[in-house]
Symmetry: C2
Subunit: 92 residues, 2 copies
């Protein structure tokens, strides 16, 4: 099982444009319309399935909010920061 | 613009398995694993785009929560109950 990260480790490892929100890390990805956000959500869901680490993804018009936490560790681990970085790569 | 529904109209028109939550109607659709839920979310997003009425869709493992409201009317209208019924059809 992945180890919980310390506050300092989270701050150091948090990928660009992600923020910590308690036991989760969160980023809102922005899009010019609805379906591009839906497509992005599907794409990162595939990455998540590949990593077997499943975020909460909320789709609204022009925005996709992604929240990551490691439930079995009870907080934020490298599984979260690593997957967040892969999601960033998919967005660029 | 669609007219706001009265409490009685909402109760009468709410499709199966949907609940009212203040100014929104909500249903959680259930799946046996992650990607089937993701695929369902993409499918109903296409229906939403077709209707030009965009729900909030939240994907987690095995569940897709859908929330509908009519922002420009400030509450629940037939646009919401009609689209909810179409989402139910897509789930069956």
């Amino acid at each position: 099982m992945a180890d919980l990260l310390s506050d300092e480790e989270i701050e150091a490892q948090l990928p660009a444009d992600w923020e910590r929100d308690g036991d989760e890390i969160v980023r809102t990805f922005e899009f010019d319309s609805y379906l591009p956000g839906v497509g992005f959500a599907s794409g990162i869901a595939g990455i998540a399935e590949d990593a077997w680490h499943h975020p909460e993804i909320t789709i609204t018009w022009g925005e996709v909010e992604v929240r990551l936490t490691t439930h079995d560790a009870g907080g934020i681990t490298e599984k979260d920061t690593d997957l967040a970085a892969r999601f960033n790569d998919a967005y660029e």
